[in-house]
Symmetry: C2
Subunit: 431 residues, 2 copies
């Protein structure tokens, strides 16, 4: 089958899947967990074939690590599925109920989006995670993983398909794409696909965003800032920056640029330099910074750089307003933090910095669905509509309006024979 055919079938399946009851979906999730456990030896053997080929192709070490799918990763996937089963069904919740008139009741009810297209790089666990999230939220899914993981992805998709369709999940709810041309086709199928979630490098996500009319949920870059205000606790600021930079450098919520209030720069920067150089962080500073500490010069390019490495650029600014302006100009609207003991400045920072996550006196590394307590994480979005920041299952949902009448027509209201009550109802949609 070609991608358009897979997508058309997924669309049909999505309609039916939207109405599948909670028990069936949870049974299917349990069957997936069971299938992963029962077939773990075979999955690992197939993954080894992918790994052998990837090594022969000289795949970089971090990619090889992500490609590996072993007992531990299978156990993690199973644990993830178990906690997903325990979550409430996000579909069919009454979000609003309004009596328009006697016997004419309006309900806003949560429902799946439809068909989700997911394009991800090497990690095969992403396939399990995303497809189970889609199942729980009643969405059909088309998946395209990295070609280096092709065999692993194939066996996982086959196991998931078999485990779910045998307990009543509609045929075709999960489709696996296999070639690069398939992705180009996927991006053009706005007739069938309602949302694309890309997971991978910046360039990869930019490519997806620039080549489709389908809405994309995600983020390309994380150019995160910490602003150390004149009213900051200096030791706290050092701790927060060390954590924001070094706790895990290769991630989107690591800090890339430090902004320092000129009032505090002379006291603060030498302490910071000591702390970061102990951890082998390369510092690049603006002119004002370099008058205080001896570091490499930062250029305009540094303010726009997502290093994902042990590098930090530093700029001395004249107070909060300049800091906010810099962040809104150069940032990527992901996560930005202020360190200050001044509540008014903290409030101004969180109000005026136009980012998904705005933090006061804590590490940028907290912006994450697990740390936020959202349960399952779909991704982190820097979009300005639908869902922003770490996105849980609710990012895979929308709503529909259900109106139950008893023969009402608009003409009666238009002519003034009848009148709208618009009374809030305190009840759930019953049908």
């Amino acid at each position: 089958m070609n991608v358009a055919e897979l997508a058309a079938i997924a669309k049909n399946a999505s309609i039916k899947l939207a109405a599948v009851d909670t028990k069936t979906k949870n049974t299917a999730l349990a069957e997936i967990a069971e299938a992963l456990k029962e077939n773990s030896a075979q999955i690992i053997a197939v993954n080894k074939e992918d790994l052998t080929k990837a090594q022969a192709d000289n795949l970089a070490a971090p990619l090889l690590k992500r490609l590996k799918f072993d007992e531990q990763k299978i156990a993690d996937c199973v644990a993830g599925i178990d906690s997903l089963i325990k979550l409430g069904d996000p579909v069919g919740n009454t979000l609003d109920a309004i009596e328009l008139d006697e016997g004419l009741e309006l309900y806003k009810v949560s429902c799946p989006i439809g068909v989700i297209g997911v394009v991800f790089e090497s990690r095969p666990d992403a396939l399990v995670q995303i497809s189970t999230l889609c199942l729980k939220s009643g969405n059909a899914v088309l998946l395209k993983g990295g070609s280096e993981a092709a065999k692993t992805n194939k066996i996982l998709a086959d196991l998931i398909t078999e485990a779910t369709t045998k307990v009543g999940i509609p045929q075709g709810w999960l489709g696996l794409l296999e070639t690069r041309e398939d992705v180009a086709a996927l991006l053009s199928l706005d007739e069938y696909i309602d949302l694309i979630i890309p997971r991978g490098s910046n360039e990869f996500v930019w490519h997806i965003m620039n080549n489709t009319n389908i809405p994309v949920l995600g983020h390309a870059e994380g150019i995160c800032h910490v602003y150390v205000d004149g009213d900051a606790d200096i030791d706290m600021a050092v701790r927060i920056i060390v954590d924001s930079k070094c706790q895990y450098v290769a991630v989107c919520n690591a800090v890339e640029t430090l902004l320092v209030d000129s009032k505090i720069a002379k006291k603060f920067l030498p302490k910071l330099k000591t702390a970061l150089e102990e951890r082998n962080v390369e510092l690049r500073g603006c002119e004002k910074t370099r008058k205080i500490i001896k570091v490499k010069a930062a250029t305009e390019r540094d303010w726009r750089a997502e290093y994902l490495d042990y590098i930090l650029s530093i700029k001395v600014v004249d107070g909060l307003d300049e800091a906010i302006e810099h962040i809104n100009k150069y940032g990527s609207r992901h996560t930005d933090a202020i360190v200050t003991n001044n509540k008014a400045k903290a409030a101004k920072f969180t109000d005026l910095v136009d980012s998904a996550n705005v933090f006061v006196n804590c590490s940028t590394r907290f912006s994450d669905g697990f740390r936020y307590g959202l349960g399952a994480e779909v991704g982190i979005s820097t979009n300005k509509i639908h869902a922003r920041g770490p996105v849980g299952l609710e990012g895979l949902l929308i709503y529909k309006w259900k109106l139950y009448g008893s023969g009402q027509i608009v003409d009666d209201y238009s002519k003034g024979f009848k009148h709208f009550s618009h009374r809030k109802l305190n009840k759930d949609c019953e049908i």
Copy 2:
């Protein structure tokens, strides 16, 4: 100024506008109402210039009617602004509050989207309505109206700008675009513009949707259906279809295709024909329909037609499943209704029809923000993300995550020195 400059300024203004307090925004709205009243003679005089030119250019009568901006329309605008002032501020509401750990509190807080681009056809009242909705929700706005209303739009935009900036709304929050080339430029400015709302004909909306990477909120077509089930009350079904078709034919929520259960077709169709022919509705039927009543033949094209006219296509189907399939195949995901006394069939219909509005035993004409009691209406969306169906002010909002700590770093949680509590908080964000 060119459009990119206007957009950059609007972006800057949007940052400040996001933090403007409720009182200032309401004062600015009151000033707009006052300015409209005070300058009504001048507005009407300028509008007459547009009308004179439009008549000379042989603009169609319905367009002339929409272009006219008289005492009544000004009074309607003022009444709309008065009710907008009375609505609560949608910005700054705490949507969720979670204690991550002691002294580390996470708040999900509603905020404006940023810069909204609005492209609308002749009605100048749309300019007033949309700009005041944007102001209340803290969004900057770039507006492009129809060229036939250029002078009216200019005076309205000038009055609104003056009335609002003099009481503290940031300069440049409202930008007026004037040429067709401006629209092309607007559609390309995804750096500055966060959402586009098009208001106009199908072709117009399709053009916008197909020519921008910016998210679009709206709908192109309304191909709405009524399905008369075998268990329907026949008289009720006739009333509902007459209203859905004839109450106002030129609108997106009027019915275009009728589906009739073959079980009831022989009893029902002759009655319907009498009722609709009294109202001069042209009927076009499938073969089965034409064996029961004498009507023109419908072709495949009819199932995809949005007539916006006194025409109704009719198809006899073999029960609910075929009706649902037809609607999901040919519909535009706008509004579809079932007439039935069978609750199980009503539930199946509302679950499986993939439309923004799914109705039971009432007219399709109810799908409208005013009738839903949403207050102000931004538009009707057939999108599958962000907002669906009639959209009130909440369609102009997103949220940001504010995290207030006291020096917390991720490393402490990662190493197990500290643990997340993830306790729901029952309080609003204080800063």
